[in-house]
């Protein structure tokens, strides 16, 4: 009986860690802050280990389901985090080299040419898009 209880405690702590980490990560991403992924990944691994420790203590059906959910959620988070790394590509213009000039249309459909801002400091940002 004692074994059962400690298993459930492990699983509940693991579940709390995984759900809390996911919620924090999601909120930070929503607020466009930069999440620091290493801490999140460590917490997720901790969650998986705790859930596994709960599993070996035979927590019964509800505990087993909660542990499975925790492990699946944390594994998905780890998998998605590792998948989301981008290839390191060398930009065509390095520091100290001229920025290639270009013309593109802005939100009003007007043409914008980079060299029209010559003489001024420009912050040029490539971003994902509206989605």
């Amino acid at each position: 009986m004692l074994n059962d209880v400690s298993g459930i405690v492990f699983i509940l702590v693991a579940l709390g860690i995984v759900v809390g980490t996911t919620a924090t990560f999601w909120l930070q991403t929503k607020a466009l802050r930069v999440p620091r992924p290493v801490g999140y990944l460590v917490l997720m691994v901790l969650g998986i280990l705790l859930a596994l420790m709960g599993f070996v203590k035979e927590p019964g059906l509800p505990g087993g389901l909660a542990a499975s959910f925790t492990i699946l959620a944390a594994s998905f988070f780890l998998f998605a985090s590792l998948r989301s790394s981008l290839p390191a590509k060398r930009t065509s213009a390095g520091v100290g080299q001229p920025a290639p000039d270009f013309t593109a249309r802005d939100g009003d459909g007007q043409n914008f040419t980079l060299s029209s801002l010559k003489g001024r400091t420009v912050l040029l940002k490539f971003f994902r898009g509206y989605w």
Partner: protein
Amino acid sequence: MVAISADTVTEAARMGSKFELTLTLLSDESLVVTRLYNLDYKAYAPIRGPKRPMAIPTTFLIGGDGLVKWIDQSQDHSMRSDEEVVLAAVREALSADS
């Protein structure tokens, strides 16, 4: 300040008005500019809708002489350039100019 993505002109306009952005939002639907800077990245599947190409999130600071002064590139598409890091680089560049 200029921000460029693979959005269409309509999408860029919608995003500009939605977030009340005052910066210049450019549409690079055909990825001409993105390829010019060697930043195109195809194999990304967003949560909703079909796969679409995107640029690797990158920030360039270009001086008045047209030379690149500073580059910040993301290693992860869920991450963005850190606001304070970018602002520090901008401040440094502006103080060097004057």
